[in-house]
Assembly symmetry: C2
Homo-oligomer: 358 residues x 2
């Protein structure tokens, strides 16, 4: 019996040392740039946490902490870099102050659509550049869900000429805000909670948010009847940021679970936002039949395009990597757009012509 017990002791120790059953549960925390209930933006983190828990049989747990808890919506990159959170969910273009090249992994005005951009990420040089830009932050960056084409915003009055933009008070942050400022728009920043009242009272004349799925919660359609189609955020991609050391320390199988879950969750977010936009738009339109969907007149669009190019050129003049990525991006986009037009665009056009008889 002594021999057997010794053998068992050895065997049991070996199992105890290596078996996932006895392995310590891995616990991570994920910081978000949005409240944890702000779907669809907060959906990918929730889905990733749920999936890795299921796939690991409860041995890999990610606790999701929204901005309502961290109180640091724009601190996500720093918190993941420092390791106080192992993972984050945010938007790459929030870090434009740290490095202008982070913008390429969210979206740029007049840029690629969602399909084109994913093709560039995975089959062009997108992921290569993403790695290059994020290396210095000590984090891995993964696509984290896309909004598709965002709407151009809610306007109290119709925009008929470039002149109508002069002096217009508009809340439109980021890159698009810089473009609008170049066209004479008085760009203001107002906290989300005050936007509805500001628009209602005419403190501002217009604002940009996301699209029907998220705009409906804000109620803008009740006070501004012109809903302009998009030009400035054609394919906003969210991002998962993962602390390198934390990721490299994960057992290989958990790394695979995490990356697979992130990819599935990113794909889901696009569909969720699309489906919720479908429903939200029906609801808004039914409640306020007076809402008008408008596209900016071509001369206005051209002025926006020109201003966009000037801003891009300005970054490119100062930053060699920006110039390199911009060149690569434009070259890929040109090829990709040819295919988008041949496939989806002409199908949609033909379908419309068959219906309307034109």
């Amino acid at each position: 019996m002594k021999k057997i017990s010794k053998l068992l002791l050895l065997g049991a120790s070996a199992i105890l040392l290596t078996s996932p059953l006895s392995a310590k549960t891995i616990r991570w925390r994920m910081a978000l740039s949005w409240p944890s209930n702000l779907t669809p933006l907060s959906s990918p983190p929730m889905i990733v946490a749920k999936l890795v828990k299921k796939m690991s049989n409860g041995k890999f747990i990610i606790r999701v902490e929204g901005a309502e808890k961290t109180k640091a919506a724009l601190g996500v990159l720093d918190m993941v870099k420092s390791g106080s959170y192992q993972i984050g969910h945010s938007g790459s273009y929030y870090w434009i102050g740290k490095d202008p090249n982070t913008v390429w992994f969210t979206t740029v005005p007049w840029g690629m659509t969602t399909s084109e951009q994913y093709a560039w990420f995975y089959y062009g040089n997108g992921m290569k550049y993403m790695k290059k830009v994020y290396d210095k932050f000590g984090v891995y960056n993964f696509p984290g869900g896309n909004t598709g084409v965002q709407m151009g915003g809610w306007f109290r009055k119709e925009i008929k000429t470039v002149k109508d933009l002069k002096g217009l008070k508009m809340r439109i942050p980021g890159f698009a805000g810089k473009v609008m400022a170049k066209l004479g728009v008085n760009v203001t920043n107002i906290p989300g909670g005050e936007l509805y009242t500001s628009l209602d009272r005419g403190t501002i004349d217009a604002l940009e948010w996301v699209g029907p799925a998220m705009d409906i919660k804000m109620g803008f359609y009740k006070v501004a009847p012109y809903y302009y189609t998009g030009w400035h955020e054609p394919a906003s991609e969210m991002q998962f940021l993962v602390n390198k050391k934390a990721f490299n320390k994960l057992p290989k199988k958990y790394q695979a679970m995490l990356t697979t879950a992130m990819k599935a969750a990113a794909a889901d977010m696009y569909i969720e936002n699309f489906a919720k936009s479908v429903t939200a738009w029906q609801k808004m339109k039914k409640e306020y039949p007076g809402i008008k969907v408008k596209t900016f007149p071509v001369p206005v669009l051209k002025a926006m395009k020109k201003a966009t190019n000037e801003i891009m050129q300005n970054y490119a003049d100062k930053n060699a990597l920006f110039k390199e990525i911009w060149t690569d991006y434009k070259s890929y986009m040109k090829k990709a757009r040819t295919w988008t037009m041949m496939s989806e665009y002409y199908y949609l056009k033909a379908s419309q012509e068959v219906e309307t008889g034109e």
Copy 2:
């Protein structure tokens, strides 16, 4: 020592019984409706096999067997139903002879685009109907990758009027073939290996295949200069078929790995096909600058739409569930298309107008 050894014995047994380390490796086989090297169609099965192996630490192995091995491309549903294969990768519309309602989970002429269809699957009634239709076959059905809008085919001569279709010899299978036959096309079926020669020699005047990514391998662009834009397969979704008993017997964590991997792989296929179409089209166009992309004239498109509706109505008259799904599909599509036009379509249109100045 006796007590300790007994405890160890119990402990070790418990671990041996439940630990994945000691658990038997699960081995599945997956049958494909295509050769295992026919990317991008064969990519999702390969990716799923690779991912579940990684995530399970080699304990869940799926051996992929292409049509070159099974010699039964169209036997996949039967083989998965019988349990001789636990999983398959195919196209739902191949089973239209067993149940016309299987068509809804691939694509229909003049139907939804990829985004619209995924929204219907996951946020409309699509997956509910999928479950209902596939229940009787003893299999679970999961989306398995999408081709996006397929091209309308390669034509030796330009199609200017509906009359030009009369007597035209064309290889175009399935639903679209029925539509073309209604318009007077002499629809023929020719094995894939003989297509190029048949088109070159004028044995046929036209044929439909997929899109640039797959068409380039067939060489059609060398012998037929008119490449028509799509109308008949706007969003062909592949399918994973899983034997119910086999799936239900899987440990929960492996079920989660499999479903997550299938979702990630399905999303990947769309991007792969998109990216490869971009590259293939550039190559074809460079090699044969004479290729012309054409859209059928509106009267031809209208005739195709009318014929499509007649065929659909004919199915609906005979099959109550077909009628029910068609009604639901049309209703969802109408709402979804409104959003597609507001977002992606008008963005693409504006981008084009800004470039061309129109």
